[in-house]
Amino acid sequence: MNRRSITRLVTLGAVAAVALGTVTGCSTGDSGSEDGSVELTFWHNSTTGPGKAYWEETATAFEAEHPGVDITIQSVQNEDMDGKLQTALNSGDAPDIFMARGGGKLAAVVEAGQAQDLTDALSDDTKTALGEGSLAAFSVDGKIYGVPSSVLPGGIYYSKDLFEQAGITETPTTFDELGDAVDKLKASGIAPIALGAKDAWPAAHWYYFFALRECSQDVMAELATEPSFSDECFLRAGEDLQEFAATEPFNDGFLTTSAQQGAGSSAGLVANHKAAMELMGAWDPGVIASLTPDEQPLADLGWFPFPAVDGGDGGEGAMMGGVDGYSCYVDAPKECAEFLEFASQKAQQEAYAEAFVTLPANKDAQGVVTDPALQEVLASYNDAPYVSVWLDTLLGQNVGNALNVGVVDLLAGKGDPQGIVDAVEDAIKKG
């Protein structure tokens, strides 16, 4: 499944472990060996079913078009990906094509001179089809270092059946309405909102979205280049969250609930009708589908945007989300960029969207999205005035991590809105 990597269960030893990536031979940028044969190594994070099959088929199709190219695929468990990749990059045996999620993490790879500049390698048609918004997530100083494969905007997924059961007729558009919905659900004995705070980032999503509503577009955009939480809107976002959390909208024991693992996780609670809502990115329908009793998509799954907040400076209908994509190692042969270009074409992207039950990055391929919840997401996404990247991705690993933990502390009653701002400012100072 295409999941956001946050949990990486890596034992201490693995930090010093030897990367198992196969070594690409000579390849130093231009072309392969004398006889034109080129080997590419490719790491992605789909370890099961349709996603894995998709990449195998795509690689085979590319090899057929480019005789002499041989792509070796390795699927790496999502939770292990970051650690393995980092070790591989350090040892100089990095895969030619690897997964990237843009923002501060990619910036760190680029800064270390490990990612290839793809600005001139991509055709203008491809750039247009992918759109500036998703390419911006992979751009550092105006140069493109990655190619998006899917866009994953966030919002609230909900069970239509449970809403009906609780007598909720309209999806909430404001926080007052959301509060009413929470009360009605509680009254009918249903956990209103599933939250996997054990993984920290799902809890932090609530804060990100309040910040998206409270802060202006300029303030949000500035975080990428000049990270600072000095603007008062970040404090207000924390206060909004504290106020909302005080109404106890989340499932019992949310602090030790994980996001995606098993029936007891937040996605599992939604999949099994134990909770009515979950704030998540566009990978959620796929994750929920894998956790329903019959492992089929949840038939009554719906979606609505994060409700409006009174008096915020955020643009109306603004969205937040992630982008999944792939980058090339700095020394990868030119066929790497050609492969990414190939994978971005309409036909490949349509197959991708179907395999991963998600939204393709190529706009021309969006016609294949049939999941009703995802169609809702797509409609809002195409209407959004701007789309911000997840704050923790935007701020990079160090600051993002501090922010996520700060939010969890607030929800656990151990911290306050000012504490979140302080934690972020401290982390920014640490670099």
Binding site: I6, T7, R8, L9, V10, L12, V15, A16, G83, Q86, L89, N90, K105, A108, V109, E111, A112, G113, Q114, A197, K198, D199, A200, D252, G253, L255, T256, T257, S258, G264, G396, Q397, N398, N401, A402, N404, V405, V408, D409, A412, K414, A427, K430, G431
Partner: protein, 345 residues
């Protein structure tokens, strides 16, 4: 009547297989007077011995250096840098990482939790294990079944234990369900997320898991106590409790001290159980963080590999100091003779 059992391992010096010691201590004049041929032979023998040692110890030594000593040295080196883990570290910041660690209240909390775990592990497990070992040391019905029950938790992998307990202790988990069923619903708790309770939950799981290890050690120690002593005391009219207090406990001393040592070091380095049950982020929120989980949370997860290495060094030094102090003052009697340094007393 008592049956005499001679225990060969008690009070006998270890058999000294090599003759090198005798060679070295033999007075020099005699050696000079020895014929040249035998000297050559002896030199050849010495050389052969060195080779033997090198061949036998070499591979293990190489692996030990490469996978233990080298990483430790590298962690010490990385600890002086601000390093994101990409490429070689270049941003040298001296002791800045260590200053940050010492000033970080989150680290203080983790250290405090470690200390609580160290002390409470000894307090909870020691008496309990002793009691169980004494019980299991005498013939009784169902002995082997009880033994198995006590040892099983110790044999199960930490990850499995952590996963199982975390599922059972969820607020909608099996334990609260059981309490509801037997009408004790009022006792149902948020075992894992309540910051006042979580550390006790952890201590309970640690006790449940590791008490078996202590029992194994104590039983082995009890086996080594000669039967004659207790029999003699019985004949002299000592009560059961007197025998345990005056004979069994003192003779179990070395075993107790070794167990306490292993327990302390294990508690200082506790990582896996906490990491599995509370995940990567909420251990400090729930009040169960340890120095090792702090290291992973602020090193690896935050992408600050230099800082994480510095924390590793601090953890290493704390463990080392504790180990050395303990060896020097507590284990000195037990290890006298086993250590190379001469104890002058």
């Amino acid at each position: 009547m008592s049956v005499r059992t001679s225990s060969p391992s008690v009070g006998r010096a270890p058999a000294n297989g090599d003759r090198a010691g005798d060679e070295l201590s033999s007075p020099a004049p005699r050696r000079a007077a020895a014929p040249a041929a035998s000297t050559r032979r002896r030199r050849a023998a010495d050389w052969r011995q060195v080779m033997e040692i090198a061949v036998l110890v070499g591979p293990a030594l190489v692996i030990f250096l490469a996978f233990v000593i080298f990483p430790v040295v590298m962690a010490g080196y990385y600890g002086f840098f601000r390093w994101k883990g990409f490429g070689p570290p270049t941003d040298f910041i001296g002791l800045q990482n260590y200053v940050t660690i010492v000033q970080d209240p989150t680290f203080h909390e983790a250290l405090w939790h470690n200390l609580v775990i160290v002390v409470m592990s000894l307090v909870l497990q020691g008496p309990l294990a002793l009691l169980l070992a004494l019980l299991l040391n005498r013939p009784m019905r169902g002995q082997s079944a009880i033994r198995v029950l006590i040892f099983v938790p110790y044999v199960i992998a930490e990850v499995v234990v952590g996963t199982g307990w975390s599922l059972m202790l969820q607020s909608n988990g099996a334990l609260n369900g059981l309490l509801e069923k037997v009408g004790l619903g009022a006792l149902a708790q948020d075992w894992l997320s309540n910051p006042d309770l979580a550390i006790w939950t952890l201590l309970g799981i640690i006790t449940w898991k590791y008490v078996g290890f202590a029992v194994i050690l104590f039983l082995a120690g009890l086996q080594g106590i000669p039967q004659e002593l207790t029999e003699a005391a019985q004949i002299d009219g000592a009560s059961y409790w007197q025998i345990q207090r005056r004979i069994t406990l003192p003779l179990l001393g070395p075993t107790l001290r070794i167990w306490a040592f292993l327990s302390i070091i294990g508690s200082l380095q506790l990582f896996d159980l906490v990491y599995i049950i509370w995940g990567q982020y909420i251990a400090s929120t729930a009040g169960t963080s340890t120095m090792a989980t702090y290291m992973v949370a602020n090193g690896r997860n935050a992408g600050n590999y230099g800082y994480g290495s510095a924390v590793a060094v601090v953890l290493f030094l704390i463990s080392l100091v504790v180990a050395l102090v303990y060896q020097r003052f507590v284990l000195r009697r037990d290890t006298a003779g086993a250590l190379t340094e001469r104890s002058d007393r």
